[in-house]
Amino acid sequence: MLSFVAQRVLKGVIVLLAIVVLNFFLIRLAPGDPAVVMAGEAGASDQIFVQQLREKFGLDKPLPEQLFIYVKGIATLDLGFSFRQQAPVAKLIAERLPATLLLTLTAFAISLALGVLFGTFAAGFAGTFLDTGITIFALIFYATPIFWVALMGILLFSVTVDWLPSFGYETVGANLPGFAHVIDVAKHLIMPAMTLGLFFMATYTRMTRASMLEVKRLDFVKTARAKGLSDSVIQRRHVLRNALLPVVTLAGVHAGTLIGGAVITETVFAWPGIGRLMYDALLQRDYNLLLGVFVTCSVMVLIFNLITDLVYRLVDPRIEFAS
């Protein structure tokens, strides 16, 4: 188990290194001389200042050396400086990260719980009206762009009936104490988390349904039935447990999509996370910040993939023997 974790972490570090190198070249693809761009962003573009910037960021050195400086910087969590926001990129991201983690993890939990529940129901009542209903429901949310679901949510729950706040993380200026603050944040969290969760819920519903129908036909289920186990026990203990394996794989594959969805959701709901930060960086063409957020997103995906790999190993002991 330990060697497996070490192996996966090593692999993750290699991928991360490759992403950092990719990032380095992407920055150089950005239009204009980076020093001139930075000087422009800082609001002063005379020759001496540009030359100073070049020296400061090592832009006058040969490319491999520049790459080395860049990688070293990221290894020490130095993601560069955002001239637009007048703050180090790493600091800006660290401030916003908790909000994004809260949003994505809540959305993930909602989508997984509801998706598996609906998928199990649909498979249990395959061919009935309930199954068709759930399938159509999942098909529709699978085809709906996240930003549109978000806007329709606002239209419905904030404009038509004034139930939920349409933007932000907490009520501005309320300064609520303790538990009231938690409730306030939760209220603000419901719509963004549901918006982000619905798309993934649709995927997990479809996956769980298909996978359960497939497992149901396998011999060990027949054996369980022959042993005289009740239907609900077979469904829970035999079918669902095995049917969940592809769902775990899917969750890992979708980690990147989840982060991408967070960018959209945070933009619509003005949720103060790194997705919103990415959008701001985009509007201001703040490339340092943009690529800093991109690296952070990649690290989050790598960590999430590592976790799903471990979970998969825990729920499917057969893998141990295979490797």
Binding site: P31, Y142, G260
Partner: protein, 279 residues
Amino acid sequence: MKQFWTSMLRSPSGVIGLIILLLAISIAVFGPLLFPNSPWRMVQRPFLPPFTLSTVPLGTDALGRDVFAGMIFGARVSLLVGLISTLAALVVGIPIGAMAGYFGGKVDDALMRFTEFFQTIPSFALAIVLVAILQPSIYSIVASIAVVSWPPVARLVRGEVLSLRTREYVQAAVVTGQSHSWIILREILPNALSPVIVLASLMVATAILLESSLSFLGLGDPNLISWGYMVGAGRTVIRQAWWITVFPGVAILISVLGLNLIGEGLNDALNPRLSREGR
């Protein structure tokens, strides 16, 4: 071929999907000829509600532009970007997958590590970064969607080729001294195509979603109107004018739904054994 169409037409999702797609294509092709209203021109007062004037059936946006015209011209951009970026992803993914599966060993290892790398990078974030850096245009959008969507193609083709490579007719071709490229192109790939076609139809759907999301964030081609752009532009005035965001969103939803249904129909038609087992 005939058998393919009969089984495709027997699957209800395939039929509904085909109808939706044909409708969308005819709107994209003929719509702009029938409704020459430019989607960028001011035609009426701003915020005209829908269903009030027959000349502007879906109302106007914040600048008095025709929402209906925007939807019709937007169909072109969505379908075009969806199709071309999928084709581009196939052009990248099929050779990589075919080479990895056919040659195996170190080639396979190297190509698959490369593919996995691209699969690990958060795709939408990469697409945003690429379009922002290359400057928004229809070309940069197509290119970035292709860059983030080829890995599944490569993996799928690799898997198919791996299993086909050991078949007897392929061995026979090797024995008769055919070249590698001839064997891959003429013997293996044609037999590996049906799952690729199913995947491609789903990829067009995903590409349309991606394009609309990019345009929504303001990364669309500034010279072309698209559904995502319209929703993004209507976002700030959603409290006064719901129709600006609602209608283009419905258009995206229906097209993507149609393509997903076609994917299911194709799956039933091309892999009949699989679909029967699934029931």
